[in-house]
């Protein structure tokens, strides 16, 4: 088991370096000078500009921290590779750099925004697990019944619906028509609703598509397990249908579903750009989208770094628990896709 975990952790390192390196290279292809973005409308004096370039590691510096000038008196641009090394060194010390426009450390910005994303993800995942697993079980147990057809229809539609559009329909119905739920924001003193009411619509929107997938996986897994020999044995033993499903079938059918929910939780924790945009949600997804639009690259880099780390840790936990629940995986070292 320990060896298995170590192997998975070691596999993540090149992926992590690859993702950050690709994004770091991407931001340097983008036209536009970051220092101009920092200055905004004001024209900066050459001294201040040089100081900023040193601060953001855009030019090469000597041992005393002064910018190296070439024969024309211009600063020498730092190489992309060195800047990446600076970034990763800072990262290991818990420093993600500073935003170009908001003049704040990136870590402070995410510390303020992340709780909203995390709480929303938690609400959505609970909703998804209850609704998805429930609908999947009903659908499989009462196969070809009215409920099964209903679940199949609803999941097919949910998979094809743009989530942001569904969110707007919910706003239209519950907010504009019925006036029972707030349509934007995360609450606070200005809102006439209690804070938790603000989570309902965004959580439903965020959970919608994955609930559909979850129900489908649950249904097909349960149907699959019900055809196994040990279920026939249980039937032959004279156990009731209820006992067979709850005691024997569900345990095995749930393993892939739990895996799916785990991976999906990782995805939700990485911020939902679309849902957060529709509901004006103060989370990291909207923050990163705003940063991309305004080319505030330190926020984008910091956000992606954070998100990839979160996704990887969650996926690692999922893989480990999977190996724990299903011994076939941990002993079958030849299976690379496990």
């Amino acid at each position: 088991m320990g060896k298995y975990i170590l192997k998975r952790v070691l596999q993540f390192i090149p992926v992590f370096l690859g993702v950050t390196l690709i994004l770091f290279a991407l931001q340097n292809i983008v036209p536009g000078d970051p220092i101009k973005l920092i200055g905004g409308e004001k024209a900066l004096t050459p001294e201040v500009e040089l100081q900023l370039r040193v601060k953001y590691h855009l030019v090469q510096v000597d041992d005393e921290g002064n910018a190296i000038l070439d024969e024309n008196g211009d600063p020498v641009p730092e190489t992309l590779w060195n800047r990446y090394v600076f970034y990763m060194t800072g990262l290991l010390q818990g420093d993600l750099g500073s935003s170009y426009q908001r003049k704040l450390p990136v870590t402070d910005i995410f510390a303020a925004k992340y709780p909203y994303t995390a709480k929303l993800a938690l609400c959505a995942i609970v909703l998804e697990a209850i609704m998805g697993i429930g609908a999947g079980i009903i659908s499989a147990v009462k196969r070809y019944s009215f409920w099964d057809i209903l679940v199949t229809l609803v999941t097919s539609v949910l998979v094809a619906v743009p989530a942001f559009w569904l969110g707007m329909l919910l706003q239209l119905f519950f907010g504009v028509q019925l006036h029972v739920l707030p349509i934007s924001g995360a609450g606070g003193t200005a809102s006439q609703y209690q804070d938790w009411v603000h989570y309902i619509l965004p959580a439903v929107t965020l959970a919608s598509v994955s609930t559909a997938y979850c129900a489908r996986i649950m249904r097909s897994q349960l149907l699959d397990v019900m055809n196994q020999d040990y279920i026939r044995t249980a039937k032959a033993k004279g156990l009731s249908n209820r006992a067979i499903i709850w005691r024997h079938a569900l345990k095995n059918a749930l393993i892939p579903v739990v895996t799916y929910i785990g991976v999906d939780f990782g995805a939700m924790l990485s911020g939902a750009i679309l849902t957060e945009t529709v509901f004006n949600w103060p989370g990291i997804g909207y923050e990163m989208f705003r940063a991309i639009s305004s080319r505030d690259w330190p926020i984008v880099m910091g956000g992606v770094t954070l998100v990839v780390l979160v996704v990887m840790v969650i996926n690692l936990l999922v893989d480990v628990s999977y190996a724990f629940l299903d011994p076939r995986i941990r002993f079958d070292s030849s299976n690379k896709n496990a």
């Binding site: 931001q27 998979v159 094809a160 998100v307």
Partner: protein, 320 residues
């Protein structure tokens, strides 16, 4: 065949069988023989949802392609807006004259949905083409040559899958700039890992077969072996994945346009029309409802067709 039968009865039976086959093939297509595609086509025709999906997709394609011939004359221009029509026609609810209503600039929404179909369909097809070709090349390199190629390409696939998807597409567009071609490229580049994995595992299962060795001993090149002997074995699953990817690409394009990262206005796109409608949610909800229904119906048609093809071609897929 049974030994007790005389040659004569066997001949009679054969003739009866032949006649039956002829009758069957007359009633359906002449190609209804015992080929994979003939069988699959027969099975697909029995799947009502798949048939309706195909009809809907063909309908949308015809409407989108022929729009120049009739739509503008009937409903007005999808892009132009002058101040007089704006004052009179702004945010009219659906009516006989404007079946889907009008938007804030007084443009007919139906004609914009029709022209938006061009963007969605072209993105669906082009992005899927790019990701399928990339995926086939990557999958072939990884599966056929193995070793270091396999390690590098599969790690690269992991990197692409580890990225938050929408964030990656949005970043790519921010780097490449807003244009239709860049939307093709951004969505296409990100879609290759799934096809690559399918093709790689198909190659791994087929590679060791005797007929591949036979082809090699006859002097066939690697490219020929992959294209003529391995690719036909996995074409069914690739067709299924590609069909579903078209729906996925249309959804991604609408998300991009919704975020203001798709094609540049005033070119109508379903996602950007929904974004336009967001500000008028309370006063003119049809502005966002109509393009949303267009996305839903088209993506649903491609998913249901993909499901139908999967069943008809008997392709086993990992996810439900």
């Amino acid at each position: 065949m049974n030994d007790n039968k005389t040659p004569q009865t066997i001949e009679e039976e054969n003739e009866a069988l032949l006649e039956e086959i002829h009758q069957k093939s007359d009633s359906s297509s002449p190609a209804a023989s015992r080929t994979l595609w003939g069988d699959a086509f027969k099975r697909l025709r029995k799947n009502k949802l798949a048939v309706i999906s195909v009809i809907w997709i063909i309908f949308v394609i015809i409407v989108a392609l022929s729009a120049d011939l009739w739509a503008k004359q009937w409903l007005g221009s999808p892009t132009a807006a002058d101040s007089t029509t704006m004052a009179q026609n702004s945010t009219l609810p659906p009516s006989g004259e404007h079946p889907f209503g009008t938007d804030a600039l007084g443009r007919d929404i139906l004609v914009r949905v029709i022209y938006g179909a061009r963007i969605s369909l072209s993105v669906g097809v082009m992005a899927t083409a790019i990701s399928t070709i990339l995926g086939l090349i990557m999958g072939a390199l990884a599966g056929f040559y193995g070793g270091i190629w396999d390690t590098i390409i599969m790690r690269l696939a992991d990197i692409f899958l580890a990225f938050p998807y929408v964030l990656f597409v949005v970043s790519l567009i921010a780097v490449l700039g807003r244009s239709l071609t860049n939307v093709f490229v951004a969505i296409g580049i990100l879609g290759w890992p799934s096809i690559a994995r399918v093709f790689r595992s198909a190659i791994l299962t087929v590679k060791e077969n005797d007929y591949v060795d036979a082809a090699r001993s006859m002097g066939a090149s690697d490219v020929r072996i992959i294209a003529r002997h391995i690719f036909p074995n996995s074409v069914a699953s690739i067709v299924v994945y590609a069909t579903m990817n078209i729906g996925g690409a249309i959804l991604t394009e609408s998300s991009l346009s919704f975020l203001g990262m798709g094609v540049v206005p005033p070119t109508p796109s379903w996602g950007s029309m929904i974004q336009d409608g967001q500000a008028y949610l309370q006063t003119a909800p049809w502005m966002m409802i109509m393009p949303g229904l267009a996305i839903l119906s088209t993506v649903l048609a491609f998913t249901l067709l993909g499901d139908g093809l999967r069943d008809a071609l008997d392709v086993k897929m990992k996810d439900a």
